[in-house]
């Protein structure tokens, strides 16, 4: 069973919109139940693929034989000649669990939503960190950049998941409006670079949604 690290439990509260560190007994019980149920339902799996990449005119990114239009992605991958395509999912049983509890006990569903989000982020981070280690000390990886970040349209999911064969590999599909199903999934590109760049902006700092309710404190700009 794959579980949330103790150090990340605070993230579950943050995603639930709960501030402060003092929680009532009832709320703590709710969160621990949610974490346990999500872990029981999750069957995390990931797939990745390394492909050649080139950036033209500051806004056109060519991955393999496909061209993606996004200035923000182009700037993210500037200087990289290879890119890792990545996707991970917790599987459809987590979606089923949350759908079920939304109908029966919405408070628990809210907590499960948060727990599942933390779990898939943790899993994705671990996968990417492992890949980074495997690539050795000569190269480093940029943070993950996902369709929907900055000016990169969600429709780029189609290309990304197709090139990854994400359906065949891990059962990850897209709806007509480019949302991933199973819902608790993450996809993105990680640039492979020879430069030792250390000042990547990550997570909330990378996102343009400056007024997001879930933005981490101290990360406003």
């Amino acid at each position: 069973m794959y579980v949330i690290k103790a150090s990340l439990v605070a993230e579950v509260y943050r995603y639930m919109g709960v501030h402060g560190n003092e929680h009532s007994r009832e709320l703590e019980a709710l969160v621990s139940t949610a974490i346990e149920r999500v872990s029981m339902a999750a069957s995390p799996s990931a797939c990745q693929k390394i492909m050649p990449v080139s950036v033209h005119d500051g806004r056109c990114v060519t991955v393999g034989e496909r061209c993606l239009e996004s200035a923000d992605l182009a700037s993210h991958l500037e200087g990289c000649d290879q890119v890792i395509l990545f996707a991970a999912t917790l599987g459809c049983d987590v979606d089923r669990l949350i759908d079920r509890d939304s109908l029966l006990r919405p408070s628990l569903a809210v907590a499960e939503h948060a727990a599942a989000t933390v779990l898939i982020e943790q899993f994705s981070d671990e996968c990417c960190e492992q890949t980074d280690r495997e690539l050795g000390d000569d190269v480093s990886l940029t943070p993950r950049f996902s369709p929907g970040y900055g000016d990169c349209p969600l429709s780029c999911q189609t290309v990304l998941l197709h090139q990854l064969e994400a359906y065949k590999q891990i059962g990850l599909t897209l709806t007509d409006k480019y949302m991933m199903t199973p819902v608790k999934s993450i996809s993105g590109w990680l640039g492979v670079t020879n430069e030792k760049r250390t000042c990547f902006s990550k997570g909330c700092a990378m996102c343009l949604q400056r007024h997001c309710a879930f933005r981490k404190e101290g990360n406003v700009d």
Binding site: E65, I98, S107
Partner: protein, 791 residues
């Protein structure tokens, strides 16, 4: 040449190996749809077929794995062009090689998840597959191969399409993981049960794993499958090398690993990574292996998308609670379309230990054809238990069977000609166990022999249309002893006779035996014990009744039907936990219980208040509403957070549920305003909408929840039909806000009387105004405040 069906199970057949792998070797660009080469590079495709024929393969898989309208449309091709070309190429290859081989129309998955997990409608999936089947059958395919399926629901859609658009034999192979499960949860036994029920010709597995990992799964499949088995493995597990997928198993290893599989499976072949060399080596080794003998099994299996029940292996408990007969509160829920009540009944029965749930929503005021399939789909969102569809309306039965994910129990057929003619074809087409009631045009026979005669007739008629005896579950009917003292004895005698003479499975609804007597559960439990001793395989009872569940567990323990007494011990564990939950309540008031979000305490305290003589409306005004207001205000001020707000809402809901049975229906609903809520088309994120629903219900609004990904017209129709005061719309993504705008435009035209309230992560006050909404709610409490402000 004989047909492929004549060879099945008698002569070894060999599918060809990978097509995609071979075309990539021939220059197909990475990521290019291989199916297009059936039109654009016919020689390359034909060459692959010819190589496999030379290797000794006897069934070609057409190059049509992804040739469905969804995948072809972006490339400007039609299904007719690609599929007919591909079948033609296979036929040419066979002619040119002068081979004796068959053509299987290859159908792979759509690449999308079906609702409720994804956004593809079940019937749309059926149509996508039908398009392929029609063209393939007309172009001359000998069989349909549905392959690489990893979802039981999509698999069912494909099989129904194949059955409804052609008469060709259907072969199915699915992708199991190493534990023998599909991605969406069904296991080997469940998949086999569903496919055999649907009447396919051969069942098996492909892709995902190499032959070695498949062997134990094939053996497991054989234990449950009475059809010829197909095994088309990969050349081992794929791994990535410099961005390319490679397979490590050599032709010789592949052949050796397939040898033990050949002892189990009549039809062998290959999938990803296999080449003509792999197939040739395998055929050389496996053609000498004796053909496996197919066994016929007597098990009656019913399944859902994730679980399977073997009827009678231990006495099966079929929960009876989803049924309005004699249940005032349930009737009210049906009339108000209160889905939540029905879903809770399902979950409570599951927690009580039911194995299967009976589903009956028949009321004169209700259109069962619309309601039964909808309830079935909703139930399958909250429970993985197999369902027993219970209706006397054959049309409603068909619609529900169609959308059911798995192999259902069908309740019921009887000895009347009309019933036999209406129900047996449905069992044959959709698969399912079927309950056979021993009554006919003359009513229920008063003797055991009379009931046996009807059971025999039903079994014979079923077998005559190709429904195996193992799928029949005879109900010899329970009548009240208060009306006829010999009733129970006759039923038990009939039960023994039917078991002995027909060898079928048996089922009884037991509660009827005590009708008109006091302390009914005692009689019911005694009768149930006797019935189990007389050979009862399944009992339709109330799983929430401790006495009945104890009784069946005790009988099973005494009759060697409970290994290690696990069921008996578990049923005693339950008694302890129920003792704990009925301990005295902590010293909190109802108001405090709601504020703290203690649902079970809130329900019990409400009961106490009622027992002490408080009026329901007084409890609402003095305790529940003040508690909700207190928490709501705390939320607005940032002292209380969303989960706590919801916990309180749920506690209040539990209290309201207790009050509902005390309130007259006019008191409960007289001035309730109606809110229709939905997540707009294209959007599948509905947590916000669900939260708003709970809060509105707490403030006594009548909420009609249309779910997620709802087309604009459906929302408008509901607003008109329900005379809604407010329509609440949610959208999470920028890509779906246009659908929200479109819905509002349509509402203004067709339902100008409603107020439109919108919410969702990407919306703002300004944005809401721009798309024409009346109001924007930043959170659930704001939605409540707006709804209240309308008076």
């Amino acid at each position: 040449m004989r047909t492929i069906t004549e060879h099945l199970g008698k002569r070894r057949l060999f599918f060809e190996g990978a097509m995609g792998t071979m075309l990539q070797e021939a220059g197909l660009p990475d990521g290019y749809l291989p199916d297009l080469w059936s039109v654009e590079n016919t020689e390359a495709v034909k060459s692959v077929h010819r190589q496999y024929l030379k290797a000794g393969c006897t069934i070609l898989k057409t190059n049509t794995f992804g040739a469905n309208a969804l995948k072809l449309a972006p490339h400007g091709y039609t299904v007719a062009e690609v599929v007919s070309a591909a079948v033609g190429i296979a036929a040419e290859a066979i002619a040119e090689e002068k081979a004796e081989a068959f053509i299987a129309l290859d159908i792979g998955p759509t690449g999308k998840l079906l609702k409720p997990l994804g956004d593809l409608y079940f019937e749309d999936a059926v149509e996508l597959f039908k398009d392929m089947v029609k063209v393939g059958a007309q172009a001359g395919a000998d069989a349909i191969l549905i392959e690489t399926m990893s979802d039981s629901y999509e698999l069912k859609a494909a099989v129904l399409a194949a059955k409804e658009a052609s008469d060709l034999p259907i072969f199915c192979t699915v992708v199991f993981d190493e534990h023998g499960q599909l991605l969406t949860g069904a296991d080997i036994v469940g998949v086999t049960a569903m496919l055999e029920g649907l009447g396919v010709s051969a069942v098996g597995m492909n892709c995902g794993l190499g032959p070695q990992s498949m062997l134990p799964l094939v053996r497991r499949l054989r234990e449950y499958c009475s059809l010829p088995v197909i095994v088309n493995p990969n050349a081992g597990l794929p791994r990535s090398e410099k961005g390319k997928t490679v397979f490590d198993v050599t032709p010789q290893q592949f052949a050796e690993n397939m040898r033990p599989i050949a002892e189990e499976a009549a039809i062998l072949g290959g999938c990803c990574g296999t080449t003509p060399a792999h197939l040739k080596a395998m055929i050389d080794v496996c053609k000498a292996v004796d053909m496996p003998v197919t066994h016929s099994y007597e098990r009656l299996l019913v399944s859902s998308y994730a679980t399977v029940n073997e009827i009678g292996s231990i006495p099966t408990v079929i929960g009876e609670r989803i049924n309005p007969t004699g249940k005032k509160r349930f009737k009210q829920a049906l009339l108000e379309d209160d889905m939540s009540y029905i879903l809770h009944e399902a979950v409570d029965q599951e927690e009580g230990g039911a194995h299967i749930l009976d589903v009956n929503v028949g009321l004169p005021e209700i259109d069962e054809c619309e309601r039964l399939p909808r309830v079935v789909q909703e139930l399958q969102k909250v429970t993985a238990l197999p369902l027993q569809l219970d209706t006397s309306n054959a049309d409603a039965m068909e619609r529900a069977l169609r959308v059911y994910n798995g192999k259902a129990l069908i309740n019921s057929v009887n000895g009347k000609e009309e019933s036999l003619q209406a129900i047996l074809p449905l069992v044959k087409h959709y698969g399912g166990g079927v309950i056979a009631l021993t009554l006919d045009e003359n009513g229920i026979p008063s003797t055991a022999e009379g009931r046996l005669a009807i059971a025999r007739k039903i079994v014979e008629r079923a077998e005559a249309v190709g429904i195996p005896r193992r799928e029949i579950l005879v109900d010899v009917l329970t009548l009240p002893v208060s009306a006829d003292p010999s009733a129970a004895r006759v039923t038990l005698e009939a039960l023994r006779l039917v078991k002995q003479e027909l060898g079928v499975k048996t089922v009884l609804g037991v509660s009827n035996v005590s009708f008109g007597l006091p302390s009914r559960e005692q009689i019911n439990a005694a009768f149930l014990n006797m019935a189990v001793l007389s050979g009862l395989d399944a009992a339709i009872i109330n799983p929430k009744s401790y006495t009945m569940m104890q009784s069946i567990a005790s009988s099973a323990a005494l009759l060697e039907k409970d290994e290690h007494f696990e069921r008996y011990i578990a049923s005693n564990g339950d008694s302890k936990s129920s003792a704990v939950s009925s301990a005295p309540l902590s010293e909190v008031s109802l108001k405090e219980a709601v504020i703290k979000g203690l649902s079970s305490d809130a329900a019990k305290l409400t009961e106490v208040e009622l027992e002490q003589g408080s009026e329901p409306l007084h409890i609402i005004d003095e305790q529940l509403v003040p508690a909700l207001d207190y928490v709501g205000q705390g939320f607005e001020e940032g002292r209380v957070f969303l989960p706590q707000l919801l916990m309180s809402a749920e506690a209040a809901k539990a209290a309201f549920e207790v009050l509902k049975s005390s309130l007259s229906s006019t008191e409960a609903t007289s001035d309730a305003r109606t809110v229709v809520i939905a997540t707009v088309e294209g959007d599948i994120h509905d947590i916000g909408k669900n939260i708003v629903k709970v809060m509105l219900e707490n403030y006594q609004f009548r909420v009609v929840d249309l779910g997620k990904d709802v087309p604009a017209q459906t929302i408008v129709d509901a607003a008109v039909r329900e005379h809604a005061d407010i329509v609440g719309l949610s959208a999470l993504m920028t890509t779906t806000v246009p659908a929200m705008e479109q819905t509002i435009r349509l509402l203004r035209q067709q339902a100008p009387f409603v107020k439109v309230l919108v919410g969702g992560a990407v919306l703002t006050e300004d944005y809401a105004a721009r798309i024409g909404a009346d109001a924007y709610a930043k959170d659930a409490m704001a939605a409540v405040q707006y709804a209240k402000s309308l008076g």
